[in-house]
């Protein structure tokens, strides 16, 4: 069976100082049925733009310039505007980073969920409202029957995010994109929301594309991980493999700077330098300027993906070279995302 979501060569460009800059550059990845894929990267790495590209909601003047996005084998980038609209919500739903501003402040939250239900299903208002109450209970909103009449400003951040989740679930999507769903919330609330997402995933069997910069969240929720750096994927691996044997120097640096993994009492190691800004991305590997293992080759051309284990691929000259010298390269398995 093919994967639920297959993305190939997805490129999204923004015009910046007279030229088109690919903020999302030739991404290949897939999300299996019932799988949680985490897309990890620093801010500015193009994570959110990837999510919006999948929904075809790239804000102007940005544009998807190349690639393919297939949901259940259906090419989303070729759909008419009208058909794409019906995919949004029922095929792919999305929750956002900012629950505070993501709900319409002048419409009752129940009404906003009812709207989402009735956009995809021909049901009466009353029936939709009943569904809405059920959804509210499902996502753990206490006093669901009353809360449907609340306005967003009357709810806490955590409750607002639950409403957003309820809205996202309302049309029974096959894929849920969660864009930094807990970043704006208190730490205690974060854990609750993560647990809720996990439970809902198990209940409904939907797939989740989790977008985050927080490796802790990845560790809790993800089945597989794709690491994004400056608009490109540098490494894809199952969660355990990624945490145990990270291959790409950037991934390694990212993991080393995690407080939970570092030896206590010592200064956290950091990756030197800064993420280059999109307008001066180099020709070759975008991490080259910060990489301790960089070679001449690295700044000349982009490295190809090489297999490093079951469903584990890396784009790095240093890693592939070390393999060929020691002969330890992984020969089995299928190349990821092709």
């Amino acid at each position: 069976m093919t994967a639920l979501l297959q993305v190939a060569g997805l490129t999204t460009c923004f015009p910046m100082s007279q030229k088109n800059v690919p903020i999302v550059d030739a991404l290949d990845f897939e999300v299996g049925r019932g799988e949680v894929l985490a897309l990890v990267g620093e801010s500015g790495s193009g994570k959110s733009m990837t999510a919006l590209s999948l929904m075809r909601l790239v804000p102007k003047p940005g544009r998807i310039t190349a690639g393919s996005v297939r949901l259940d084998g259906q090419e989303l980038l070729d759909l008419s505007v009208r058909s794409m609209r019906s995919v949004r919500g029922s095929g792919v739903a999305m929750i956002f980073q900012e629950p505070m501003t993501s709900l319409n402040p002048v419409i009752r939250v129940g009404e906003q969920v009812v709207e989402a239900i009735r956009l995809h299903e021909r049901v009466s208002r009353g029936a939709a409202l009943d569904r809405c109450r059920e959804l509210f209970e499902q996502v753990g909103i206490p006093d669901a029957a009353e809360r449907v009449n609340a306005y967003p400003h009357q709810l806490s951040g955590g409750l607002k995010q639950r409403v957003m989740i309820a809205m996202a679930l309302s049309a029974r999507p096959r894929l849920l994109i969660a864009d930094e769903p807990t970043t704006a919330l208190d730490v205690t609330v974060q854990a609750q929301i993560l647990r809720l997402l996990q439970e809902l995933q198990e209940e409904t069997g939907m797939s989740i594309l989790l977008i985050t910069h927080d490796l802790g969240i990845v560790n809790e929720l993800a089945d597989r991980v794709a690491v994004l750096y400056a608009g490109r994927i540098v490494e894809t691996a199952p969660r355990t493999a990624l945490f145990k044997t990270p291959k790409h120097p950037y991934t390694q640096g990212l993991l080393r700077s995690m407080p939970a993994l570092a030896p206590s009492g010592e200064r956290l190691p950091e990756i030197p330098g800064m993420v280059p800004s999109p307008s001066d991305w180099p020709l070759g590997c975008r991490f080259a300027s910060r990489c301790a293992r960089a070679m001449d080759q690295c700044s000349q051309s982009l490295p190809e993906f090489t297999d490093q284990g079951p469903r584990h691929t890396v784009a790095c000259y240093a890693v592939s070279q070390a393999d060929s010298q020691s002969g330890h390269g992984w020969a089995g398995g299928t190349p990821e995302g092709l």
Binding site: F14, M16, I23, G44, M49, P278
Partner: protein, 340 residues
């Protein structure tokens, strides 16, 4: 003091100010890049505005004597501007159509046949010449009023926003009170009370016009006051006056420019209305339009007076509005979108 000397002095001061501005703009990367992108977007509007300014300046540099064309002897002892010398002095007795060879009504001979590109008005003045002279009046109204209103608004706005407390209460009350009075009526009342003169019109326009910008600068100062660099300066013991001069005022400059340009067109249009009510500034395009009302009901109609003054007014306002719009896009950080 001779009024033409003052006028010449003002022109010199303007050139000096323009020089200093250019020097400062070239030193700051932010401002010069803003100017470059303004030039790229609104080249034509800027050029048109420049033509108006040039005409007004040429009409402001004046001296006495050196004239052989003047018909009446009084004119020989009056200071006359460059515009007066080049385009003035060809007075007729009454109406004549553009490029006409004879008078419009009656068909009598003209003194200067074919020389009136835009015809002449009721008392025989050349319309092209009057239209050119209107540029100076319009720019004077916009410029002088802004020169009174903007510093006033900055003074009150910054002190209210920065010091807060009682000062803020008083300024806020003053603003609310002035804003509560219907603008045009207050304007009229002020001019009637002060008596009709160019200065009175400008002062009245300034009194009614400063409130809007005062509100903006108060709000912006309130925001700036809370920013880190201001608290940092304060914790280092920089005096309040220096904080205002170094940190608050420069950060309001872009708003001053935007306000000046957007206010300008409103002021010139207001003056046209005042002219129609009979309390405008002498020689303005508003007055010419006002005179033209009766001319349109004559038979055959006299259309060139209103056509010339109306077009000149429209051209200036349009150019300034376009520049102002682009300026707001270029300078106001709120409209600069996040690029991602």
């Amino acid at each position: 003091m001779e009024s033409h000397l003052a006028s010449n002095g003002i022109v010199a001061a303007l050139f000096l100010a323009a020089g200093v501005t250019v020097w400062m703009v070239r030193r700051s990367r932010l401002w010069s890049s803003a100017f470059v992108s303004l030039w790229r977007r609104r080249r034509f509007a800027l050029l048109v505005t420049g033509v108006y300014v040039a005409v007004a300046l040429l009409d402001s540099v004046a001296w006495v004597g050196g004239d052989s064309l003047a018909v009446d002897t009084v004119a020989r002892h009056e200071a006359r501007s460059v515009i007066d010398r080049v385009f003035g002095g060809n007075q007729e007795k009454s109406y004549s159509a553009p490029f006409a060879e004879a008078e419009f009504y009656g068909g009598g001979d003209l003194r200067y046949p074919g020389r009136h590109w835009l015809g002449t008005d009721m008392i025989g003045r050349d319309i092209f010449y009057l239209t050119l002279k209107g540029a100076r009046v319009a720019l004077l109204i916009g410029g002088l009023t802004s020169l009174i209103a903007i510093p006033l608004a900055l003074l009150f706005g910054i002190s209210a926003g920065y010091f807060g407390g009682r000062i803020d209460d008083v300024v806020f009350f003053l603003m609310t009170t002035l804003a509560s009075m219907p603008g045009l009526l207050l304007l009229i009342a002020l001019i009637m009370v002060m008596g009709k003169s160019t200065l009175a019109v400008c002062v009245a326009l300034a009194v009614t016009g400063w409130v809007g910008f005062c509100r903006v600068s108060r709000g912006e100062t309130l925001k700036l006051r809370e920013l880190e660099f201001v608290s940092a300066a304060r914790s280092l013991g920089v005096s309040e006056f220096q904080i205002v001069m170094r940190h608050i005022l420069p950060n309001l400059m872009h708003l001053v420019i935007i306000t000046f340009v957007l206010m300008f067109s409103g002021l010139v249009l207001s003056e046209a209305i005042l002219s129609w009510l009979g309390i405008g500034v002498d020689g303005s395009w508003g007055q010419m339009i006002d005179q033209a009302r009766n001319e349109l009901s004559r038979d055959p109609i006299v259309w060139w007076n209103i056509a010339a003054s109306g077009t000149a007014l429209f051209g200036l306002i349009l150019a300034v509005n376009f520049v102002g719009d682009a300026l707001r896009d270029v300078l106001d950080p709120r409209t600069i979108e996040d690029e991602r």
